[in-house]
């Protein structure tokens, strides 16, 4: 054997040794965002702008859950790391955030705590890349319909389900035939208004007595409320952000409109009560979580104590529903990541998520169930009403079977 051959064999043997050691230490190195001891999740949502109340809460709730999970030893020996990007509640900024997370930060999966407005900007790209995106808050139909293998919806539900529940509650529950709708012109409130309008027509052949719109961030609702006054509905359904709803409710009472308000599920929260004060009394809506954050239930009190210890200086109205949704959904992710095993891949992660059945982190969260043919984790919402300045559960349950899952069969 010549000297050159010996040198070549020695080099090849060394490379083989290095490779075997490297791959033994990091068995899943072929998946981006995974090392031998970390799983990197990319998260995004609005922490600036008019919808910051959801993004800030999403970020903080998720961070608390991750801290607990890591303190308990992580997932199959790996710690979870989260990289968070602000989307400013804009589809374009959300897409830029997701591209950075996927292409530059090389995250393993995406955790979306954006509103529908931001989320819709990312869907095509996420589908193209095939990376798993778990959406915690956005109800925009495009997340789960048409069905995509890599997109999941956690704590919230698909907006047509809102339409079903809202229509049934308003017509059968409080026996309203004349319904006024005030909705924002951005993605989420517009979708809610459309879903309610469509479902009222489909199930009850009722058209809204009046539907008017407003711009995100509006500070004066006199024109819309005067139109409501003329239409004289039995109930006013308002879809937008809590700050907007609070102004509208106060102005409604000032103008002498005494009809009850019904609000979208993003507002069934302490934040609305803080902003609207006594004007919120009598308001009803559907909560995305079984217990509101200021509930005196022992499970919620214990969770609130943990949260307050972590974030002692945040304002009245926090923790809100979105802190809890994100916290609970990170535990959903963790449960699936654990079930996917040490040799974690996107495929094994999707498979584990699809096998989750009625999983929840505790009494503070609704159970999440996914299936091979649909990725809507939650179809249950809790009807609530403001009484004496607090959200309380109301004993009403929808009787009509949901049409939502039929299209996935």
């Amino acid at each position: 054997m010549s000297g050159a051959h010996k040198l070549f064999l020695a080099l090849a043997a060394s490379l083989a040794l290095i490779a075997s050691v490297t791959f033994a230490a990091a068995p899943a190195a072929s998946e981006q965002g995974i090392t031998g001891d970390t799983i990197t999740i990319g998260a995004f949502g609005p922490i600036t702008g008019p919808a910051a109340y959801i993004g800030l809460a999403g970020r903080d709730g998720a961070a608390l859950a991750i801290k607990e999970i890591n303190a308990a030893g992580g997932i199959n020996g790996r710690k979870v790391e989260m990289i968070f990007e602000d989307d400013g509640h804009s589809p374009a900024k959300a897409l830029a955030a997701v591209k950075k997370l996927v292409d530059e930060d090389k995250v393993f999966a995406l955790f979306c705590v954006a509103g529908s407005n931001g989320t819709i900007g990312t869907i095509d790209y996420v589908k193209e890349k095939g990376i798993v995106m778990f959406v915690s808050f956005a109800s925009a139909p495009g997340v789960t319909w048409p069905f995509a293998k890599n997109l999941f919806r956690g704590g919230t539900t698909e907006v047509p389900r809102y339409g079903e529940l809202y229509a049934e509650y308003l017509v059968d529950g409080i026996e309203a035939q004349k319904i006024g709708i005030i909705s924002g012109r951005e993605e989420y409130p517009k979708n809610e208004g459309d879903a309610l309008t469509k479902q009222l027509q489909k199930w009850y052949e009722i058209k809204p007595a009046k539907r008017v719109e407003f711009n995100i961030g509006d500070k004066d609702f006199t024109p819309q409320l005067l139109e409501m006054q003329q239409a004289n509905p039995q109930v006013i359904a308002f879809f937008g952000n809590p700050a907007e709803a609070a102004i509208a409710m106060r102005q409604a009472r000032e103008l002498g409109l005494n009809q009850p308000f019904f609000v979208g599920s993003n507002m069934v929260d302490q934040g609305l009560l803080t902003a609207a004060g006594p004007a919120a009394d009598g308001v009803s809506g559907f909560a995305l979580i079984p217990l509101v954050p200021n509930s005196s239930d022992p499970a919620m009190k214990a969770w609130r104590a943990k949260w307050s210890a972590e974030y002692p200086n945040l304002p009245a109205g926090r923790p809100n529903t979105f802190d809890i949704l994100a916290y609970a959904d990170v535990y959903v992710l963790a449960e699936a990541l654990k079930a996917a095993g040490k040799d974690l891949t996107s495929a094994s992660f999707i498979d584990a998520l699809e096998n989750l059945h009625d999983y929840r982190v505790g009494a503070i969260a609704s159970p999440r169930t996914f299936a091979k043919n649909h990725h809507i984790g939650n179809l249950r919402l809790q009807p609530m009403q403001v009484k004496n300045g607090e959200w309380v559960q109301i004993p009403w349950e929808g009787k009509r079977p949901s049409d939502i899952l039929k299209r996935y069969q």
Binding site: T48, L56, N215, P223, E227, R250, G256, T274, A275
Partner: protein
């Protein structure tokens, strides 16, 4: 539309317009004195609201908190002018615009570091149930906004006509060189104009806070205030007030008559119309370049 609805809309439009007018005034004063358009004015509105929030959290009663906030804001205005504006006062207009824009972004970022984008509420003693005035319902907070604007305009008229400093500001706005030759300290006038402007901005923040809450975006109405100032004529204080009120009324009526989308279209449509047909605004003086 019935008379009652028309009047109720007018009241609402005047309330919104009063806020535009106050912020437009706070833009017009330093512009009049130093020809600098302060794009950080929206952030000075926000800063006023946050100063009020901090003072209230330390237990200061509302009656003491308001003057204290205005004084702190005025001092901040002076410091801003001395530290950042005066060193570049002779720079091209574009440089000055970018500088004030950057100052605004820095103020907003600093606010976000501590408070993030959470919304806070500043209780006001006048907040309460609506008052019935004939067939109309009036929110006391809106009455305070309209009343404060009227009082502020009156005080500014007295200030510019009766006080030495006010007269000095007018002199500087007409001709800086002549004013300097007459012994007026132009630097003092600049500093005073920024102090006054910052205090008026802070007043707008305090008036808005009980109505819409406090967050870093509370001063975003700077764009509407700019439109108001353009309508009225930049540098004309009366014009700024008139422009603000007119804009508030037009926005409210267009929203009621044509839908929410037109609330956004109308102000900018009016802006373009003025820039094309009467760029000096209703009360602004025509400038001839030679």
């Amino acid at each position: 539309m019935t008379w009652r609805i028309a009047l109720q809309l007018a009241l609402s439009g005047l309330s919104v317009g009063s806020i535009y007018a106050i912020v437009a005034l706070s833009l017009a004063i330093p512009f009049k004195a130093s020809r600098i358009l302060n794009f950080a004015q929206g952030e000075l509105v926000a800063l006023g609201a946050y100063i009020g929030l901090v003072l209230t959290s330390y237990g200061l009663p509302y009656a003491a908190m308001v003057p204290a906030t205005l004084v702190i804001a005025a001092v901040f205005g002076v410091l801003l002018e001395r530290a950042f504006i005066r060193p570049i006062v002779g720079a091209p207009e574009f440089t000055l615009v970018i500088a004030t824009f950057a100052i605004g972004l820095i103020i907003r970022a600093l606010i976000r570091i501590h408070w993030q984008d959470n919304t806070f509420f500043l209780p006001a003693p006048y907040a309460g149930p609506a008052l019935a005035v004939g067939p109309l319902r009036v929110n006391p907070a809106y009455l305070v906004i309209i009343g404060s604007t009227a009082v502020l305009v009156g005080l500014l008229v007295l200030f510019f006509r009766r006080t030495r400093l006010g007269k000095a500001m007018r002199a500087v706005s007409f001709n800086q060189t002549a004013a300097r030759l007459m012994g007026i300290s132009v630097g003092t006038v600049f500093g005073s104009a920024w102090a006054l402007s910052a205090a008026i901005g802070a007043l707008a923040g305090l008036l808005l806070a009980p109505v819409i809450g406090i967050n870093p975006e509370i001063g975003h109405l700077i764009v509407k205030a700019l439109i108001a100032a353009v309508i009225g004529g930049f540098g004309s204080l009366g014009g700024a007030v008139f422009g603000g009120l007119l804009l508030g009324l037009l926005e409210t009526y267009s929203g009621a008559l044509f839908g929410a989308a037109f609330k956004e279209i109308v102000p900018f449509g009016i802006l373009i119309a003025f820039l094309l047909a009467r760029p000096q605004g209703l009360w602004g003086a025509t400038q001839v370049r030679v």
